[in-house]
Symmetry: C2
Subunit: 495 residues, 2 copies
């Protein structure tokens, strides 16, 4: 395979490509919830994750790939099947390589035609054929031709297509590999199949794991199902591997998806929505012709009014640029929040964009035991911002540990820091959602949490549960309560 050793790709990368274990390809620098800041090494450079890959159509560059790079896109994705099916593009790609064909010198991921398979029912290429083609044109991340099973099919179909996918992936993983290889996780809307599929692929030495077949879920705002599917895949895969949420291109979902541990995203949305005259924001999708303002500071929106943009001969390109600017900006914000440990706070805001996003958020809250196991153990502080905050990993963690507090004699639990402590052997302060905690920890995380003046019912319920756990763990102690907030069952004077 001499062709692989030509062009601008350093030779040593080819030599070690097939042997590199995954941890060297993907390094995790920092974590928050299941999200992480990572570094993914490819033959054409190392990128930071979470990262957004703008989709580039090999036939038509709505935004020239050089401009994409200037806008901040450090990696792009294109479709090897489209190139393979076009005799001229194919010849050019084989001759000068994918990067010169596209005009982009950073990392490029290539899809395999699986999307076309999902739309048209068949493709004119064999699985190994399109994989070898991706290798030959020097793609940085190659995707085998899997079967992207749509949501809501019968369990039988999901299972049999998954089996076919797994056979193809095993075959693909056995090939000598000059680039990174993706192992897509399918399984339709069956979380157990997704988990099983991920667990099967886990040890097969893939470099990137796309969660596939989820575009219909996102298109129909089924974010609760999306969370079910992705968290199941993540559980099967473990936390060390980079995960690509295939088809996730709307900035509205980046925070939620990153919080689940998705590391790569691809956006065709920026261009598709632009062609429909749609203007993306982190709140959702607007129709440009129905808007009065362009509420954005990107170069496009700073240099045009809504009317000027509507009437521009370059409207679609300009709108695509805005859509991409807002997407890249949101990815930067997600990364900033991961470093700060404030991704949950961003979820609180982002998941109020639509009730279906709230459904997804609530579904993720139901996975808080899982999140707790992945989240970093210390942050500077946390904000309690809604009933969903009662499901934060901090609350789950404290709830697990509160029975380690050993108490004897008379115990006062109070949220009145001026309460008369005479006659009590122990005084614990009280702050929902945690409930009772040792006052000497008041200034430390997580008890230094900023909470609303009036605790909501979810916070009170969590706090009451923790009181019960504490009392159960200390059956000989006698508990008294002096609480300003109404907490059913724990009125002044005792249980």
């Amino acid at each position: 395979m001499l062709i692989l050793l030509s062009s601008s790709v350093p030779t040593y990368l080819f030599l070690i490509g097939a042997m590199l274990p995954m941890p060297d390809r993907f390094e995790i620098l920092h974590k928050d919830l299941a999200a992480r800041i990572g570094r993914l090494s490819t033959p054409h450079g190392t990128i930071e994750t979470p990262g957004l890959m703008p989709v580039v159509n090999p036939h038509l560059h709505l935004i020239p790939p050089k401009e994409l790079k200037e806008m901040g896109a450090d990696i792009i994705i294109t479709n090897s099947y489209i190139i393979h099916e076009d005799a001229e593009l194919k010849a050019q790609a084989l001759e000068k390589g994918l990067h010169d064909l596209i005009g982009y010198q950073g990392p490029i991921m290539t899809d395999s035609g699986a999307f076309q398979l999902s739309v048209y029912g068949s493709v004119e290429v064999l699985p190994l054929e399109i994989l070898e083609f991706q290798f030959a044109i020097h793609s940085d991340i190659c995707v085998p031709l899997d079967i992207p099973t749509p949501p809501d099919v019968s369990r039988e179909r999901a299972q049999s297509e998954l089996q076919e996918t797994e056979e193809r992936l095993v075959e693909a993983a056995a090939q000598e590999r000059p680039a990174l290889l993706a192992g897509p996780i399918q399984g339709s809307t069956y979380p157990d199949l997704r988990k099983k599929a991920a667990a099967f692929l886990k040890d097969k030495n893939f470099d990137v794991y796309p969660v596939g077949g989820v575009v219909p879920l996102m298109e129909s705002y089924r974010f609760s199902d999306l969370v079910s599917v992705v968290t199941a895949a993540k559980k099967g895969l473990g936390s060390g591997a980079p995960v690509h949420l295939f088809g996730a291109g709307h900035p509205m979902v980046f925070a939620l998806a990153a919080a689940m541990g998705c590391d790569l995203f691809d956006s065709a949305a920026y261009a598709l929505f632009a062609r429909q005259g749609r203007y993306l924001t982190v709140q959702g999708t607007g129709k440009l012709d129905e808007m009065n303002y362009l509420p954005c500071s990107c170069p496009v929106c700073q240099s045009h009014t809504q009317k000027e943009l509507m009437n521009s001969p370059e409207k679609i390109k300009l709108l695509a640029k805005h859509n991409l600017y807002v997407s890249l900006q949101e990815m930067k914000l997600v990364k900033q929040c991961i470093w700060e440990g404030s991704l949950w706070e961003l979820l609180e805001s982002r998941c109020r964009s639509h009730p279906r996003m709230l459904d997804g958020y609530m579904r993720l809250c139901a996975e808080s035991e899982w999140l707790e196991g992945l989240d970093t153990a210390s942050k500077s502080t946390m904000f309690y911002l809604s009933p969903q905050s009662a499901s934060r990993p901090e609350t789950v963690r404290y709830s697990r540990r509160i029975d380690r507090i050993c108490l004897e004699g008379n115990v006062l639990i109070t949220d009145d820091h001026d309460a008369n402590e005479t006659g009590f052997d122990h005084v614990l302060h009280f702050k929902p959602p945690f409930g009772p905690y040792p006052p000497e920890l008041a200034e430390t995380y997580p008890f230094n949490a900023e909470v609303p003046a009036e605790p909501d019912e979810a916070a009170l319920k969590a706090a009451a549960e923790n009181i019960k756990r504490l009392m159960k763990a200390n059956p000989k102690a006698s508990f008294s309560f002096r609480l300003k907030c109404r907490l059913e069952g724990f009125d002044e004077g005792g249980r």
Copy 2:
């Protein structure tokens, strides 16, 4: 007063200035909650509200006023007292006018020295003197020298300072007026005094009503008290007059303040925070030196990395520009939401930036009866996004009207649209937070609301209250329930 008739200001404006009734100065185009899109006419042009006025220091232009205009600032504010106290500036201002002095040809509002009074305890100018000076230099919106009483003072002090303010304002309003005149509303943290002060000023023919003395509340994140004070002032003033929230410059508060009916904002924050190395976002305030990215698409953040900005010799100016871009952008978003009728949805997101913002939001929710009276009666739809959504004007409005539904015989209330309706004279569908509603209205606002898959307790409680009202209004009807959601007291089969 010949001096008033010189310079670039059209003469007819002076002639009609003192006579113009307010509605001609301020026109309301569109409403959402207590917010509105308005047009405020000044001698140097008409601006659209809500509008943000960047504060310009007459001594030092951190961003040249010409650049402010290019960035989208259609009106600015400066301090006439600072000009008055500097012999050279004063002479220049009197000679060539405020606009040439500052280098800005749009509307300029001038403060009076009241801020200096609040900081230093006294000022070296008489109330009428500084007002006449503002007239003389052709300010567009002039502010009499009032007494900005800080929060938490004794009621006696608040009252006596308010009386002094009112005397000065009456005197100011009696002057012939070549420009718009502001009537600041004081009263410290006493809502009843704020309301009384506003009601007193209401008929005194001022053109703009600043709510003053609230900067300490915003600096210490006391947004609940801010809402109490502003809503009280608004209630006293009525809905027709333009209100300026004096000192509100952080983009985090714009949505909340606009929702209460504030029309003008002024930002010194963009420059003050820049001098402290602080980077504004709608989520809050970051420290530039602790950030890893610049999560923004403004020209500054597009052309610099965090490191480049940190090390730029123009760091403070560039940071000030970013801070102002993000502020102006948020104001555009607020306006877009007002036009769309989606300002409540923006509140749901913006008030999750900090638990103190949530406190403010919850305080506003307690004013939902008042908001209901001001909100537009029809929108396209609404999103239910948190327990606070149960306080939306739509819920309040339906709750008031549900007893108009006349029912007889057997009534079924159900959220199962396939339920067997045999034997029932009336079938009502059920959707929290509204509760029962006629199925033929399902596709109309507000019953077309998008709601989460699982209603929260606030929604269920509101719905249960509405069932009770409906049953009370129709004592002869017999009610049955087939509900999928758990609704205490309304189990299957009847009450």
